[in-house]
Amino acid sequence: MSADDRTPVSLSTAGPDDPHMQPLARNPQRMEMAIGLAMVAGIAAIIGFGVAYWYNADPWVLGATLGGGLSLLGFGITAWGKYLMPQGPFVEERHDLRGTDEERDVFAAAVVQRGGGILGRRKLLAGLAGLGLAAFGVVFAFPLIRSLGPLPGKTLDKTNWRKGTYLVDQTGREIHVDDLAVGGIVTVFPKGKEDTPEGQAVDQTVIIRIATRDFTTRPGRETWGPQGYVAYSKLCTHLGCPVGLYEQQLELLVCPCHQSMFDVTNGAWPNFGPAPRPLPQLPIYIDGRGYIRAQSDYTEPVGPGFWERS
């Protein structure tokens, strides 16, 4: 069958004089020229991007040619659609989404009868099927979730500080009593842990010299500040950021994340910001050779609060 021996389908045509078919542009010839120029410039810029890529040009050249080219080309195509294509407006009818009452009844009846009816007739099987699905859902959650990580246990309560642990800086050098002048501060780790992720993330401690004589920051901590050295956990009690700023004049440790401030002369008590608790203080002593060492682990969990913390 060829195209000629069937009756042509009649297609209604909006004639060229129909106002709906007119372009929006007042002067279509000039608009076409302007659009053409934009598109030519866009194509040139895109080719420029290819050239820039070939010669491995700077990123800004790549971005400018690609971005400029795409923008100009896009502008041209959009303007073509907006100013030169039929301005309309055209209309389309909206049909009700809902079915007729009858269709709705037929559908609902089928759902209710085939669902409820069939399930209701064999209550035992329906119950077993439900039970099976529920059991699968619960049991299958274990490999999906429980395998992801170890149980917390007491992990969060402890650090790697022990009785006699040397305090070392990030390069592993032990801290000597003569190292810091008053106002000096250094970040320390338990010896041997200075280059490990948990040493940096959990054990990190700041040691500050706030005086030359023994310094007591809180009652009961009389031996914790030998020769003016005090050591605090560097983990903010708010969200665990490193408390990385030391305001020497005010003797405050400041957390740059959310601006909690801790008074180092007063047991690192939080006196500003959202941190709820003081930074735990590490009890330290100075050994016979003048090196600073830990008396024990921290006496409380370091870092932010959690449910199991008592």
Binding site: R6, L11, T13, A64, G74, V91, G149, Q204, L239, W307
Partner: protein
């Protein structure tokens, strides 16, 4: 001769027509295809906001695929010896090293990275502005509640995936963000420590988080989002567009431009423009220079770093919330974290998700709505939405308390307390002000451009202002809408062409 036995027709419309006939034989595309081409897109600038989000999503997928080819999702420690000299000899994670390498050693690498990041910033911004448009014009009302919910979930997933992607380079700034994410998860009562240990594969930092977040970022979330975007667009076609009231526009029709060719041209061009602007930003505006931040080291931190804008309100809430830790019965609930970082976003997003149902309950309006509201005509909704955004905006500003204090030389304490007050006060003021403005605008004559005044001086020296005559082209004249003609032809069809016949309309 039955239809099924018929040989495929030679078409009156040449090889394209023949190909379409072949397809129609197998897929039955002719019936629905025609009405799809005629699908009407109403014309209003605000309908373009969702398009920006859609096109940014496409750009994210394209640039993201490029990045996955070079990024190494591993926390293994390597010694950096690449082409960026200042980092030489540093111990960095493979993730960080590969990000620096793809930045400096891969052609277009930096451009693609920055396009990806900018596209994300634009994507989420466009979603928020699009949602505001939908909210303030009442486009979420029956029958479109479901699409509103899908959109809200897309926003939540987009924010989550933005954060995940931001974390992947394992630089100093993003690593601190991960530490905060761990602590926030830890703060959830009863299950928090378990959740955080399962998510990170152990105590922070562990070695699992970058590979895991990579898989979630490039596979899991994009897959869900792609499905939801498809559903969003399907519902949009199924339910057809809303439109503003106007000449010939009713609840029962849609007036505008047909998909082919007018909307197709505009949309294609607009996609290129969105891509173009993103590429310009990616090439000219630096974003997230991780080689300057350096690799993550849990004991180091940088000053005055802010998260990407879409996380700002959460960071602000964390900054200004008072230190309300609760302890008792041998347990701790860090409410100063749980409330602003878990409960507050929960409320903000739940309220957004439930709003269409809530408004239906409050107004007892069960009718179908295809015509949009002008915001002024629904003063209570507009006032509520404004107050809601004012609240979020205040939280956003609160995320830069330190920068504000530094810049204006105000005490940090004063800024913190000011934000604590403003975050409550500003929404409370915004509601009545927005309400009053709506009422005021309702009273004013709406919608017409003010005409220019002609000021003349009388012989007595008195000045009088008289509105100028309306000139042709001053007002907005619109034709009555008509159905899309079957055959669009500009210079007159050739009536003798086979299959084409001009008929009177």
């Amino acid at each position: 001769m039955t239809d099924t036995a018929k040989k495929p027709d030679a078409s009156a419309f040449g090889p394209v027509g023949k190909a379409l006939n072949e397809l129609d034989d197998r897929l039955g595309i002719a019936k629905g295809g025609r009405s799809l081409l005629d699908k009407i897109f109403p014309d209003h600038w605000s309908f373009m906001l969702g398009e920006i989000a859609l096109y940014s999503f496409v750009i994210l997928l394209l640039s993201g695929i490029f990045l996955t080819l070079y990024f190494v999702p591993s926390q293994d420690v390597v010694t950096y010896m690449g082409s960026y000299a200042p980092l030489h000899g540093q111990h960095v994670s493979a993730a960080f090293a590969s990000t620096v390498d793809l930045t400096f050693n891969v052609r277009c690498g930096l451009l693609m990275r920055q396009i990806h990041h900018w596209a994300c910033v634009i994507f989420l911004g466009a979603i928020v502005v699009h949602m505001a448009r939908v909210f303030f014009t009442g486009a979420f009302r029956k029958p479109r509640e479901l699409n509103w919910s899908i959109g809200t979930i897309l926003l939540i997933l987009g924010i989550a995936n933005g954060f995940l992607g931001y974390s992947l380079p394992d630089d100093l700034v993003s690593g601190t963000g991960l530490r905060i994410a761990f602590s926030i998860t830890e703060s959830i009562p009863v299950v928090g420590t378990y959740l955080s240990f399962f998510l990170f594969g152990g105590n922070f930092p562990g070695t699992a988080v970058i590979p895991r977040f990579f898989t979630i970022h490039v596979l899991l979330v994009p897959l869900i989002m792609l499905g939801l975007v498809t559903a969003h667009l399907f519902l949009l076609v199924r339910q057809k567009h809303t439109q503003f009231p106007g000449k010939g526009r009713t609840e029962k029709n849609v007036v505008g431009a047909p998909m082919v060719p007018v909307f197709a041209a505009k949309a294609t061009g607009f996609f290129f423009m969105v891509f173009g602007v993103t590429a310009l930003l990616g090439g000219l505006a630096q974003i997230n220079p991780i080689w300057q931040f350096g690799p993550y080291d849990a004991a180091k931190i940088s000053y005055a770093v802010q998260p990407d804008w879409y996380m700002g309100w959460l960071d602000g809430a964390l900054r200004i919330w008072p230190a309300w830790e609760w302890t008792g019965f041998g347990h701790t609930i860090p409410l100063e974290v749980t409330l602003p970082a878990v409960i507050l976003p929960g409320i903000v997003f739940t309220l957004a998700l439930l709003w269409p149902g809530l408004e239906r309950k409050l107004t007892k309006d069960e009718a179908m709505h295809n015509l949009l509201d002008r915001p002024r005509d629904r003063p209570k909704r507009t006032a509520f939405g404004s107050a809601y955004f004012a609240f979020l905006a205040m939280l956003f500003i609160a995320s830069s308390t330190d920068v504000v204090a530094n810049f204006f030389h105000i005490s940090l304490n004063a800024v913190l307390w000011a934000m604590r007050v403003l975050v409550i006060l500003v929404p409370l003021i915004t509601y009545p002000v927005a309400y009053a403005l709506c009422k005021e605008l309702q009273a004013a004559e709406g919608g017409k451009r003010k005409r220019a005044n002609v000021v003349t001086r009388t012989a007595e020296g008195e000045y009088v202002a008289v509105p100028a005559e309306q000139r042709p082209g001053d007002g907005h004249h619109e034709l009555d809408p008509e159905p899309v003609p079957d055959f669009i032809d500009f210079d007159g069809a050739d009536p003798s062409a086979p299959g084409v016949r001009q008929v009177g309309r």
